[in-house]
Subunit: 192 residues, 2 copies
């Protein structure tokens, strides 16, 4: 199989998640992941800097999609409308694979302090990207922080409902994230 | 100097922050920190598992103070009143040393991806502790998540104003955190 065979990246992710599930995150090496995926170690390193980054891959793409969504919201739109546009945009990068792998990735993260740290940084990065994009639209800083945190919470809640939920529920990730964002908006009005 | 000399923990933190400032976080070893603080490496390891934990020390204590504050809020108090009590309680563990070291710790964190990850996990842990304590009071889950995130944002903002601010401003960390919490509450009512 050629080193640049299409799908190598996806096969690496599947192989890694299988191995993390079977033998734990700490015990799994890059060499084992590459072997299971049928590629060389060099191919692994062309796709990911290390095994930890493999599980949070896509953070930069997601930050960009969130920022773009906020930037392209209509000129008069408020902060929450812009955040809704961000979540719709970011949802486009999640497909059936992400949905199916989610429970096993969650299990792997729950067993590794190192992965929990990396995962926490991902949340913080997504919030920071949205805050920056909102401030650039003229949203006051505290409102921007707040709206961005609501966006991250809603996206996590939406993703959990989407990946844990019944596959017969025909709603997609964007709908479930916007539903969660609406719930948070309602909750934010009645805080006491 | 005895290995259990009082103040060893504090001296280790000061020595570490000095070394991180002078030569960077990555280049600094536990042995160097211990030597600068005038203690043995064993003493270092009695206080901290590694140099990374030294900079986020107190996370567990802070989680406990936040939870206790929420738990001990009056029976009829709403989520935000309980969060305010949490911030007041957590503020008690921050003294003049924390205030003075803050800019240099911030500088060290900004240069190290590893420290940023650990710092992000600390924020996530504080939010989780407050969410759990709020749910235990009967606050609905989405409201609890929201109020806890506002609490973390307010505490970070309050801490930044306190450590960056003019020392002639006589307000303490608790006051500045509650001020930020009020701003976030106002912002949350006008989200659109």
């Amino acid at each position: 199989m050629g080193r640049w065979a299409p799908g190598a990246r996806q096969r690496l992710v599947f192989a890694a998640v299988d191995l993390f599930t079977e033998q734990g995150y700490d015990a799994t090496t890059v060499a084992q992941i590459a072997e299971r995926a049928g590629v060389t170690k060099s191919t692994f390193f062309r796709h990911f800097p290390d095994k930890r980054e493999l599980l949070v891959a896509g953070q930069e793409d997601m930050c960009r999609l969130l920022s773009d969504g906020i930037e392209s919201a209509p000129a008069g739109a408020g902060a929450m409308t812009a955040v809704a546009a961000a979540l719709e945009n970011a949802s486009t990068m999640m497909g059936p694979d992400n949905r199916d792998l989610a429970p096993r990735i969650k299990a792997a993260v729950s067993t590794s302090a190192e992965l929990q740290e990396r995962d926490a940084l991902k949340s913080v990065s997504l919030a920071a990207a949205m805050t920056t994009a909102l401030v650039a639209r003229g949203v006051p800083e505290m409102t921007a922080h707040l709206a961005a945190e609501l966006g991250v919470l809603a996206f996590k809640q939406g993703f959990a409902r989407w990946s844990d939920g019944d596959r017969r529920d025909g709603r997609d990730l964007a709908e479930l994230s916007l539903e969660a964002l609406d719930e948070l908006r309602v909750a934010s009005r009645s805080l006491d």
